[in-house]
């Protein structure tokens, strides 16, 4: 597969910048890194000698350049340090959480894109009709509701009042399952509400994009030409208009990944869903700084990589993007 190099270069530069920010932010911002390395929960106190020892242990007494080289060396060996609160390697913790976030974000993104695509195509095709207006009002209103509120309402409705679905978590704790099928069903039930929240809160943007894209395409001459030569309405709609309107819709997909991860962080926090976003927040709340940095790094690299893959696929679909 031929890669698009300008995009690849931007990706590599962004990747380098992200990794470097992860190194610099803790060192440049006010706040004592040594203080943050000490587990605040057991009220440890230390004197100047312990401090010096810690500084040299973590290499913080060395020049910034040397620290930066060490940082990269550790990173390339896959060593993200050790979590203070979990007392485990950060990489192990982070990798355990990654599948949950990906499993939440990627299917939700595809479903929300598909619904936005279908709704946007119909609304844009008959712009100003009652269907268009009601879809626009409903979806834009939903889009303006904070994700945590949408999630709250869904939990109240399906979790508390109807009692169809669990309130939080990703699996039923301490449960024994008779079969793999029962276990998958349990995971699916836990997945449904967070995923629905993510879908509902991202659908408005996808819908508007497709709707606007459709109305731009409908003004083009090739649509007029297709009509003039007697192509049926459905063929004009799907084969001439929608196909071309898809391109801006696809192009924007890569920016959606970042937005969805943002949404997922908030949703994971509400549903106590054990993904990367929740791990990052737990790390911040327990002042587990090695874990904060590790979680940030893996989230960022994952989003950037998914973006890169999406962009390379888009170039295949529409060479004009390149």
């Amino acid at each position: 597969m031929k890669l698009h190099f300008a995009k690849l270069f931007t990706y590599l530069f962004t990747l380098w910048l992200t990794v470097t920010l992860n190194f610099l932010v803790p060192r440049l911002l006010p706040g004592d890194p040594i203080l943050s390395l000490i587990d605040a929960s057991d009220g440890a106190s230390y004197d100047e000698a312990v401090r010096k020892q810690l500084e040299s242990y973590h290499g913080l007494d060395q020049p910034l350049g040397v620290q930066y080289v060490h940082y990269w060396q550790n990173l390339l060996r896959g060593d993200l340090g050790d979590s203070i609160s979990f007392r485990k390697p950060v990489s192990e913790l982070v990798l355990a959480r990654l599948p949950w976030t990906l499993g939440l974000v990627l299917p939700s993104l595809v479903i929300s894109s598909l619904i936005g695509l279908v709704a946007g195509t119909h609304a844009g095709w008959r712009r100003g009709s009652s269907v268009d207006r009601s879809l626009t009002v409903i979806l834009i209103s939903l889009w303006n509701l904070p994700a945590f509120f949408i999630g709250f309402v869904l939990i109240m409705l399906f979790g508390v009042y109807l009692q169809w679905l669990p309130l939080s978590g990703a699996v039923t704790r301490f449960a024994q399952f008779d079969s793999i099928g029962a276990q998958v069903l349990d995971m699916f039930k836990h997945w449904l509400l967070p995923a629905a929240t993510l879908i509902i809160s991202t659908i408005g943007g996808r819908f508007l994009l497709m709707r606007n894209s459709m109305s731009v395409v409908l003004g083009q001459e090739y649509v007029l030409a297709a009509r003039a030569k007697g192509v049926t309405e459905n063929n004009v709609k799907y084969r001439h208009a929608m196909r071309n309107a898809l391109l801006p819709f696809f192009t924007a997909f890569s920016t959606q990944v970042g937005l969805a991860v943002t949404g997922a962080t908030i949703i994971e926090s509400l549903f106590v869903y054990p993904g990367m976003g929740l791990l990052l927040l737990e790390a911040v709340n327990t002042r587990d700084y090695p874990l904060v940095q590790g979680a940030f790094l893996v989230i960022s690299v994952t989003v950037l990589t998914v973006n890169l893959i999406a962009e390379q696929v888009m170039v295949k679909i529409d060479p004009r993007i390149a």
Binding site: L29, P146, F148, V160, G258, Y289, I299
Partner: protein
Amino acid sequence: MTPESHKPSPTSPPTKQTQTAKNVIPPIARLGIGLWLFFLLVALGADYLAPHDPYLAKARPLLPPSGEHWLGTNDVGQDIFSEIIVGARMSLLVATVTPSIVVTIALLVGITAGYAGGSIDILLMRMVDVMLAIPSLPLMILIAAYSGSGTLQLIAILSLFAWEIPSRLIRNEVLSVRNLMYVQAAHALGCTPLQVIWRHIIPALLPVLITSFASQASRAVFLEASLAFIGIGDPTSKSWGAMMRAATGFRGIWYGINWVWWVLPTAACISLLVLAFSFIGQGLERWANPRLSK
């Protein structure tokens, strides 16, 4: 031009291209402005409007609404109605300061890129691409974790990841204006670049500036609430997002009826203010830029 004096009569057909229609602020924008002014007054007069001190936990916890506590009390016995009124301050503060910073940065970057062109333009727009590619929320959380949790830091973080899109919009607008006849004529008549930018380019940017300001205000309110909800922000000051965090973090919320007067009004305020700025942005976009109202 007195936009308020021309009210469109409801019976008249939707005239879009006529001279009068152009000068009338669309109803949707007026609704937005009305909502915004309402919340602004609430925020400014919070000290007089709030019936109780929202920081004082002196009532019994989880009281239902009553004459004394219009929206009841929360899990520690603070008056929810007063919390919402005082919480409006945080939302309106970020909705005012953040867009001001963002639009100022965007003006500088956008005009520099668009007017200078060439390698400066390429460099600045690549910078915008890179900033947009970095997943912003995780980086916001990282910076917040190390910079401490104050309102000032929060506004700085919100602004840092917001100037990119307005900059590009302004740059594109500058590019389209730069080669117009009247700008060329101003150059030919011997205006200095600064004069051209100040007298001819910035006035042409007004529609983009207004809509950018409104959409950035909307985004700032939304993001501040989201960040406060996940626990990033000043924990000592009241905000709607922090109230939502407290309410959904309280386990009993799922098993009682308290959410009706605790969660619903809070969420409604966030959504209404976000919506108000979207309305203002969308409405004024068509008002300020008649080219769009086709």
